[in-house]
Symmetry: C2
Amino acid sequence: MTERFVVLKLLIVILRCSSLNMGATKTDLFTKEQNDMAAMAKALAHPARIAILEYLVAKNVCITSTFVEELGLAQATVSQHLKELKLAGIIQGSIEGTSVCYCINPKIWKQYKALFNSFFKDVAPNGQDCC
Amino acid sequence: MTERFVVLKLLIVILRCSSLNMGATKTDLFTKEQNDMAAMAKALAHPARIAILEYLVAKNVCITSTFVEELGLAQATVSQHLKELKLAGIIQGSIEGTSVCYCINPKIWKQYKALFNSFFKDVAPNGQDCC
DNA sequence: TTTAATTATCGCAATATTGCAATAATACAA
DNA sequence: TTGTATTATTGCAATATTGCGATAATTAAA
């Protein structure tokens, strides 16, 4: 009786989990705009990537080895963060000898700026309680 | 000879990993402002949380059960996302009977708006190559 | 062609996030 | 007090992210 119940529960768990993708974000529940907005935020969701972007905005260009010195992270780690930013489109790299020179992608940068700006619409400055 | 080498390598790995915090973000390498900016971005880095904020901006107030219907995620999952947004300070909840009524925290919302806006400084619209 | 310099990728371990069922906690009504 | 409705928390599994050593790939110089 109790045994049967346990077996049944186990089967349910197995069925549920074997239908896969457990633990991953359910992107299909949301609009493309919402998923894109979240993806943009994710690209900014690490202090190293914030630091990289701030540095590029201030200095215009920078090569990987300088980022490694500036950030204090291992070369492999920095390379990965740069890859993510490049994948998000917000920076671009051009090969310069044995180095790679990175800079902001101005077009995508402006898109980010515009989308974040329109996301943060003005809200009424109501009091402490909502309802 | 080879054996000694292997043992030494193992020891190095153990020492390195036992100094702990492996896999976690190295926040101490960055400024408070950079960590804060990344944390704000992280709060927005999920489509469900984007959807929640958009809904609140549009409708002003909303209770948990409505979010559950709107989002199509399980109640536990929605509750967790609301908790994260509350922890980030960007929303606030007030108990209304057996429900909890959520709304944007206008003060923090404006802070987010201002900080994202000042993060996306204007960049020169240079060409394809950086250097 | 060999060597040096620089960057990208692989493989692994640790931590973090996502999602949900089950259950606990809370507030109201009967 | 007991039951009902709603929300929060717990515990677990799956996936994602972070970090880095080792190594491969790429480019320029010798």
